[in-house]
């Protein structure tokens, strides 16, 4: 199917691969269906594009590129909600808040987006673990492996 996007005009997406957020995303609770569209050629950054609202897209990326030590538990409620049975089925992305200059950009480690690859059910989890915050600097991060990407 073709959808209208915020950054890329009309894009053809595979309907079977759309992500279903039963509760939407915090701040955008009314929009439930998203497509994952690669931004760069190496597919490090993706646009989490709302299918219902063309003007709504968040940039996400794998946290492990920037923070190698990032770990969190998925609670039982969420496992049931997403129908998760194996850790192998989970894909994790985190939302980037990009700013100019780039070194002021941050990643939201407190609220990872988790996707069950088996059924595409997804959720932005809010961790109760106080060691992760909503704004971890991408560049020269204090935690984990720091930054590999420094344009």
């Amino acid at each position: 199917m073709k959808i209208s996007t915020k950054h890329f005009g009309q894009v053809e997406v595979d309907e079977t691969k759309l992500l279903k957020f039963h509760n939407g995303l915090p701040g955008f609770e009314m929009y439930k269906t998203y497509a994952l569209i690669p931004v760069d050629e190496s597919a490090i950054y993706f646009a989490l594009q709302s299918v219902e609202a063309a003007g709504l897209a968040l940039i996400i990326s794998s946290p492990y590129i920037f923070f190698k030590e990032y770990t969190f538990d998925v609670d039982e409620n969420t496992k049931q909600e997403l129908g998760l049975t194996s850790p192998d089925d989970v894909l994790v992305y985190n939302v980037l808040t990009l700013r100019e200059p780039f070194k002021e950009s941050t990643m939201n480690l407190q609220a990872p987006v988790i996707i069950n690859l088996k059924n595409r059910k997804s959720k932005q989890l809010i961790l109760n673990d106080q060691s992760y915050r909503a704004r971890h600097p991408l560049v020269n991060g204090q935690e984990g492996g720091g930054s590999l990407v420094n344009p």
Partner: protein
């Protein structure tokens, strides 16, 4: 807003399946126990609000920055 007084060990029931118990009160802090069905999301209000704000800011992205991401790996 409904306001009511509860003592330590007392509870409040909301609807058929949510129970909120005052576990302890110490200094200015109240420890609350919550029993609710699995499909009811429970968050500290200020944390949920901060994630809403962060998502809202993340969604306002300049064309410049996006172009930078696109080109970053072609250099």
């Amino acid at each position: 807003m409904l306001i009511l007084n509860r003592k330590e060990g007392e509870s409040i029931r909301i609807g058929d399946d949510v129970e909120i118990k005052i576990v302890s009160i110490e200094g200015g802090q109240v420890k609350v126990g919550i029993e609710a069905p699995r499909n009811v999301a429970i968050h500290r209000q200020e944390i949920y609000a901060s994630i809403q704000e962060e998502n809202t800011e993340a969604a306002t992205l300049s064309k410049n920055l996006l172009d930078m991401l696109k080109n970053e790996n072609n250099n």
